[in-house]
Symmetry: C2
């Protein structure tokens, strides 16, 4: 019988964090691509556009004028999906028709006063300023809401509707679906094995090495064993940290540093401003913040869609939407490619 | 206090079939859209292209020549994600690193010899021929595999790489993730309530009416209470039917008829060839086909991405990928719009 080789033979892998399976069929990369090609993204963005509502000094949809900020700028989303005062839908009259109240707050965080930069092109101290706001906004909104979701949609391909470097923060009165899954998995793992799932996972990946992308004094970046997106990564602190506000100054500096390296590698992969969705997951907060959440380990997920080039993405459709996620190269192949990339941004190198 | 109104006030809803929650924030439709606009799809497709591997008489990647078929045509995918003979990855050495064998078969089904038609533009007898192949291929592959996933990716926006009208069939040695969820939910509902979840759900929607889109003698189409995609629908038989092969001739004719109506409405919504992913879910088969699967009710899911026009889609990114699905209009609003649309295709009407 042929010996099993992950890069030749399809198989399924389990995601113990989100309790899901993925089909890995690496030989699919051999098929030619005749489908949709994304518009090329080389359109130049002006450094300052007085009509862009995220720019310093611009007027927003609600008539407010932005300050002439020179670092980060945090403000309330003018079109929030979550508002603090929505009424309760009332009790459900049937088990198949369940609705519940949803309250919350949506904020926007501009990373930098300039529209023509992205995180990998910002300096480490500038990125560190973003990390500090992530920590403080988590603390502030977490005083009232059990879940504070920080996320960045980067690139038009990821539904980002404004090129100015920014992320969003949506805090909710409920634990969202994926948070609930991670809560269940991490709680069960801790009670069975006596330590946090992601602490053991990080340790194992440091030993196994084949999925590591970057390591630093305080952080790890790896392509998870169960990655769904072609170049998906997981960013983990080495120390047991439950939430962003707990990070020490040294850990924050080091985070800015490793993020710059990771995002530079991403841009270098296809020599483009690499699109992705990223976001932070940490222990729930709100009124139960003081409960025991030691089974949680802080982490960030990066979900980038590109597969073959700056214009050919992975489509999660059809089989993926109806049956199971499926990937076309192994996580180990993806990690190997990311590891090999330079840590200097392609746009800054010699021509 | 303000009385709750679903179309004004955000809330969360539960999907009892797939055990998931969705955030409904209908007021979000008020926000202007400045993000990515999809390329317009009006490119004419030639009726016959000898270089298109799905056309009658064309040569495929493996050198085989297609017959000059004049109805449907079913063949093995030349770049299958699932192959019948992949070796087993062997036992896992750690609970966080679980991999299992995956075996299967991938087929392609051409709906029609012409490349320039789609299901809503085909005649009812032509669609009925497709239904018959869906039933027979389920029976054939279900003799060996526990799950036979029939799915159609329609439109370049949905990753479809060939404009010729076709769907795919992926049969697997394992129950995919979403099949497992539907299995758990339907089994639990039956054991608690003594009847199939989707039988009771269909009956309730017939009484409540506000989410119905189409009804016929044997079928229902509705926007589910927990829909995630803007104009998502669920297609259900009225009778308790576990799998496609069980459909009677009258039910098959009626299915062809209601599909033509639904897909015509979809095309009419934004006067475009409406992109979507659709697929069938029925009771598992394979070696356990004879077990008791009475908790299953056959159904098809339609997941179309368009939100505002033929070129502005809903992006499931950021919050959706990291926290929870979110929709921008209520399922009731979507159903009302679909109900109001004509059942004659816009391209055939008077100019
Ligand atoms: O097989 P195709 O049509 O080339 O590929 C399409 O459908 C597959 C199954 O849903 C997906 O995995 C691919 O990402 C998509 O592009
Ligand atoms: O708020 P934005 O950036 O306009 O909108 C974007 O992010 C949201 C949150 O992930 C998504 O719901 C939208 O579909 C997407 O276009």
């Amino acid at each position: 019988a042929t010996p099993f080789q992950a890069r030749e033979h399809q198989h399924i892998r389990y995601n113990p964090l989100q309790d899901e399976w993925v089909l890995v069929s690496a030989h699919r990369m051999k098929r030619p691509w005749q489908g949709q090609v994304e518009p090329s993204l080389l359109k130049a963005v002006p450094r300052h556009d007085p009509h862009n509502p995220l720019c310093p000094g611009a007027t927003r949809a609600n008539g407010e004028v932005n300050p002439h900020y020179d670092s980060t700028f945090l403000f309330d989303n003018d079109f929030p999906a979550l508002q603090p005062d929505a009424p309760n839908p009332g009790p459900s009259d049937h088990p198949l028709f369940q609705a519940e109240a949803a309250r919350g707050v949506c904020k926007v965080l501009c990373f930098h006063p300039w529209s023509d930069v992205t995180l990998p092109l910002m300096s480490v101290p500038e990125i560190r300023a973003v990390v500090d706001v992530w920590a403080s906004v988590t603390e502030e909104l977490g005083a009232q809401y059990p879940w504070v979701q920080i996320f960045e949609n980067k690139g038009a391909m990821m539904g980002c509707s404004n090129p100015h470097p920014h992320c969003q923060v949506w805090a909710s009165s409920f634990l969202p679906d994926i948070a609930q899954r991670e809560e269940r998995s991490q709680r069960a793992y801790q009670s069975q094995h006596g330590e946090p799932l992601l602490m053991e996972y990080g340790r194992q990946e440091l030993l196994r090495k084949e999925r590591l992308v970057l390591t630093s004094e305080h952080w790890l970046v790896l392509v998870p064993f169960w990655a769904v997106w072609p170049f998906q990564t997981l960013l983990l602190p080495r120390r047991h940290v439950r939430r962003l506000p707990e990070l020490t100054p040294a850990e924050r500096d080091d985070l800015a540093f490793i993020m710059k390296k990771l995002l530079t590698k991403y841009d270098n992969l296809f020599e483009t401003s690499f699109p992705y969705t990223m976001g932070w997951h940490g222990a729930p907060m709100g009124s139960e913040a003081e409960a025991n959440w030691d089974h949680w380990q802080l982490h960030a997920h990066y979900y980038p869609p590109l597969l073959r080039s700056s214009t050919v993405r992975k489509f999660m459709v059809g089989y993926e939407m109806l049956a199971q996620a499926q990937r076309d190269l192994t996580p180990e192949q993806a990690a190997e490619r990311l590891r090999a990339l330079p840590e200097v941004h392609y746009s800054l190198g010699p021509k």
